[in-house]
Every structure is written in C-alpha cells, then in structure tokens.
Assembly symmetry: C2
Homo-oligomer: 344 residues x 2
C-alpha cells in the first residue's frame, strides 16, 4: 500500500555524496571516536547532500534499530475527547500536550483499543504500544492486569491518579486526597459541625479508599456517618434526620449537585455541603461549592517528567527514582460550607 516513490533514504544520500551509507549515518548522528573518524571535508559534503534533498529519517527503521522514538503513548480507559469528559480530561490533556511539546515528543493516542468485557484493554493482538517510548495512563478505573504486565515487562509508564490495585508498585502521580479530606473535616469541626454525613457510591478506586481512610483517621471530631448511595437519593432527607448531620459531604461535585436537587432550596440552605473532589465550575444554588482545587495541569507535567525519567533510565537502575508522587491540592472554600446553624 501507499507506495513511497519519493522516499529518500540514507543509501540515496550516500550515492549522491559518493560515500557509504554507514558514513551518512555517522554524520547524521554526529558519531566520532577512535574507530570512527570523518574529516570535516567529507562531513560537509554529506551535509550538503542532505540539505539538497528532502531526506527524513524513517522512524520505523530507527525504532527497529533500537533507538528512542520521541513518542509517548496516551491511554485513556474512557473516551477522552467527548464534550462530557473534557471537563475532567481537558486540563490533563492540555498539560500533557504542553509537556510533550517542550520535551519534543509526539503523542500516540491508543484510540483503537477494543472493548473487552466492558472495559478497554491496553494490550491486544495489534497494540501499537511498543511504538512508544513510554506511556501515560488516564482514567478513574484502571485494569490491574494491564498494570501488572507493564511492570513485568519493564515498560516505562506512569498512571495519572493514585494506584494500589497491584502487587508491584505502580508509578503514578496523583493528588493527596487524604490530606485534603482531613483539612476539610478539620474546617468543618472549627465551624461547629459535630455530625457529618458522607455519601459515596462505594467505588473501588484508590482515591475513594483514600478519602475513607482519612475520614477514619480523623476520629470523632466531627463524627462522620458513611452512607453508600445509588442513583436514587430519595432517602437522603431521612438519613440526615436520623444522623442529625449538619453537613453533607459527597464523593464528588456531581453527587453534591444531585443531593442539592433532592434537598431542594430550603434543605440545601439548612445543611452545609461540600465535595471531596474538584469543584471548579460547580455552583449550588448560586453559591460556589466548597471542595478541592486540584492542579491538573501540574499533574500532567509531573507525570511526563517522571515518564521521561523512567524512559532514560535502564530498568535495573530505576531503583533510585521516586515513582509514586502525590501532589498537594488546595481546599476551595466556597460558600456552601458555613458555620453550624449559621445563616449564610
């Protein structure tokens, strides 16, 4: 397919310059040493031949010869570019693009990964993964097998978001949701809240567990009641009544929005609300939602920096690298977390 009649190879350059293909390669890669010596005159002759032509190195051949490619893979466990997911992925992708640009790398999106048993799989018969020097993984939920295999094969990769679903340590860059959760609980205590209701969907993700662990750690001030909720939040008012909670925290901003809808204007005014997640762009009844601000572009930049580090380090020397990095986010004090009983 796609015949390339105009393709210029090193051999062609060599013919023009009257040297061997080896010499052309040496000149292109600035090789020089005890065994390889090329006088400037020859160098110049070869260079000129290259300038005259439209020579471009074939990346496939370079790769096959064992060189780096300057290609970074990007794998998302959900579609990355839909309008809905742009909210979440947008800043990450933007950060990745910028970092890649400054590293001089191209980005290979594995959009072709087939869906097997309801989830996208990174590994399949025809994966182009190996074309990349390394890979960034994105997504709320990742596949443990994929991760295991990447580790086992010493393939350089970095997950965005904390991971703990595997035996082997997985390189990641994430947000310290535990610390943020503690801070926000402390703030709630200061504001006089003694009973808080935490609603979540019982997701089996590391960050979900981190939040729960932090709540655990916080002890009894304030006392937090955990409640798993489904799509139907109808039972929420009853739950609030039973627990005597003066504040409702939820796993993410969307869940807060759903809760606010169920509680109605009056109810939403009566209790404080907060999300233990990014709240940028979310407002509840005209008020800025209290929650976290997470530096997503920074995460992306850090992830690519780590990836680059892994790529340029031999597998057996990666021991010294800090491969699990948590960045500190900040608590966004909106207007939905107010003093207990206080009018806003």
């Amino acid at each position: 397919m796609t015949a390339k009649p105009g393709k210029v190879t090193q051999r062609e350059i060599a013919r023009i310059a009257g040297v061997s293909q080896t010499t052309v390669s040496m000149v292109l890669n600035d090789r020089d040493g005890s065994n390889i010596r090329i006088p400037d005159a020859t160098r110049e002759r070869v260079r000129r031949a290259i300038e005259q032509s439209t020579y471009v190195a074939d990346p496939a051949a370079r790769r096959l010869a064992g060189l780096d490619n300057k290609i970074l893979g990007v794998f998302t466990y959900e579609s990355a570019l839909t309008p809905e997911s742009m909210d979440f992925y947008g800043p990450l992708l933007n950060g990745i693009e910028r970092a890649a640009e400054s590293l001089g790398c191209d980005l290979l999106f594995f959009t072709s990964s087939p869906v097997e048993e309801g989830r996208r799989r990174l590994f399949h018969r025809n994966t182009r993964l190996r074309l990349a020097d390394g890979c960034v993984l994105l997504g709320q939920q990742m596949d443990g097998e994929d991760l295991e295999r990447l580790v086992a094969e010493d393939f350089p990769f970095v997950a965005v978001g904390r991971r703990d679903e595997t035996e082997a340590p997985v390189p990641y860059v994430g947000i310290d949701y535990g610390a943020l959760t503690e801070t926000l609980l402390g703030r709630a205590a200061e504001l006089g809240h003694e009973r808080v209701l935490y609603i979540h969907r019982n997701r089996n993700s590391p960050t979900a567990r981190d939040r729960l662990a932090a709540i655990e750690r916080a002890g009894h001030s304030p006392a937090v009641t955990l409640a798993v909720v489904g799509d139907d939040l109808a039972g929420l008012p009853r739950l609030i009544g039973e627990t005597g909670a003066t504040a409702v925290f939820a796993e993410d901003a969307f869940l807060v929005e759903d809760a606010a809808l169920v509680l109605g204007d009056a109810g939403a005014d009566a209790v404080s609300l907060a999300a233990l997640a990014e709240v940028r762009g979310h407002r509840i009844g005209g008020r800025n939602l209290t929650g976290f601000h997470t530096p997503r572009q920074q995460i992306a930049a850090e992830a690519l920096a780590l990836l680059q580090q892994l790529i340029s380090t031999a597998p057996d020397e990666r021991g010294g690298i800090e491969i699990q990095r948590l960045l500190q986010g900040e608590v966004a004090f909106g207007e939905t977390l107010t003093a207990r009983g206080g009018a806003r």
Copy 2:
C-alpha cells in the same frame, strides 16, 4: 535504551512450535495459496504457541516491511488542547477520536513540530509523519509548502476546512460558507435590510475569501459595504452612520462580540447583528447570536472516511475519488437579526 527482555518475537514462537519464522508469519496473516500451504494441524500448533505467549507484533517492523499501521496522524497548526482552542477544536477532535475508534486506528498527534519563522511546520528533520498511514490537518491557516510537499509525495492526507493556497488540488472536507452566506443575506433582505456592513479582518484564508465571494455574488440586495477592521473597533459607529447600514455582519462570533461591546447596549439594539460563522455558545446581551451552525463532528467523520479511502487506494488510482468535499451547514436564526427598524 529501554531493554525489552520480555519481548516475544515470531522467532521465539517458531522455536516453541517447532517451525520456522516464516510459518509463524504465514499463520498470523492467514496466508494461503498455491505456494504456501499449511495443514490445519500445524496451524493449530502455532496458534496455541501464540496464545500461550504474550506475543504482540512489533509495529515498527511491520511498518518497515511495508504494511499499513493503522495509525493516523493529526497535525494542528495551533495548539489543539488548550482551554481556549477547545471551543473550536473540541468537536473536531471528538469526531476524529470516534471515527478513529470505529476504524480501529490509533492517533498520532505531532505535538513536537517545532515553530519555525512563527509557524509550526509539519516537515522537519525528525518528523514522525511517515509512521502514520495518513494524516489529518487542522488549523485556520495552513502552510502552502507543507501541502505542496504532501501532494508531491503522494502522502495520503486530508485538510479540515477548504483549501486553495496551492497549485495542486488538496483533499479537504469543509463547510460551504458561501452558500450559508448567501442564505443569510437573503434572509436579511427579506427582513427589510437594504444596507449591510460587513466587517472582517482581511484574513487570507479560503473561507474568508468564500464569504467575500458570496457577498459579491449576492449583488445589490441588500447592498453590502465591506470594511476591514483591526483590533480597534472605535470607528464602527461612524462607519454605520456613513453607510446607513441597518445590520452589521462580522467574520466570526468574536468579532460580533467586540462590535457589540463598542456599540453598547443602545447601539446593539438599534442594528441587527450576525456572524458568518459558527455561533454556538455565543450570546449577545442575552440574545442568541444569529449565524451558522457547522456540523463539526460530521466534518471530522467525513475527513477520516476520505482519508481512509485515500490510504487504501494506490496513488495512481485515486483519480476517481471526490477529494474536495463541502458539507452544508445550517443558518442559526438567533434573535440578533431582526426586521429592519423592528423592536425585538
């Protein structure tokens, strides 16, 4: 770099199954013919060896051997994933992602292209372009040299947006802004507007020229005065007064917004406003802006379909393909184009 100790090759599979590498390749590609015959027993043996292992074909080697890669390049003349440009690129990228997914292709973003003389260049010493089977080009303004060279090298590519900056015909998928412009002018005439002021930035792009050509074609009903404006729109009220225009059309929605700002509430109420471009998400003083709706996801889908067609057709047989395609958008009748002198 990046030693791949766990890398399984066809040779390894061959060793396990007790056959030659050739046979493995034949089985994998389902080759069969007068010269190549492999009994089912052997086939099965090889298949099982592959199943047992973690064999994945090396894409670089396949590519070098002259096969298709299922990789489509994406080149944007501006950064594609910034929050600002998401407005424009988002729907296109989304469409591209979905089309690629259904075609089973991965997407290679050429984020590494260096900026030379103020513009990004597709071709450079280390371009990974050849790794892709074909390429989609995005951007308001493209580089004529890039296009010429792509054509000259018979490299399959498709530009998004109409192109006319080259001698050779460039494959593209775009919007028929001419037709839309005519329709909107007609509508203005129906509403009683006899004099329209068209403000633009004198951009040297095909679509800009299309709009001007359509205005030209429309003749004298309504009479359109053309005005090139810079960043400063201060002279706009005077222009309106001099020309007696009852409606102001602008090149794009942003320009309309700027104009509305200059005219102020009173002025914006007095004249009708419209953009000869996509107006989704743009509102002027609480009213939906009149302009066009362009099916951007559809453009992307069509572009990838065309690209796929070019890829799978030998260069000398591409004659029969309709390589320049204009899609019809639709006029979005907002509330900023009203009957002449009519209250809204």
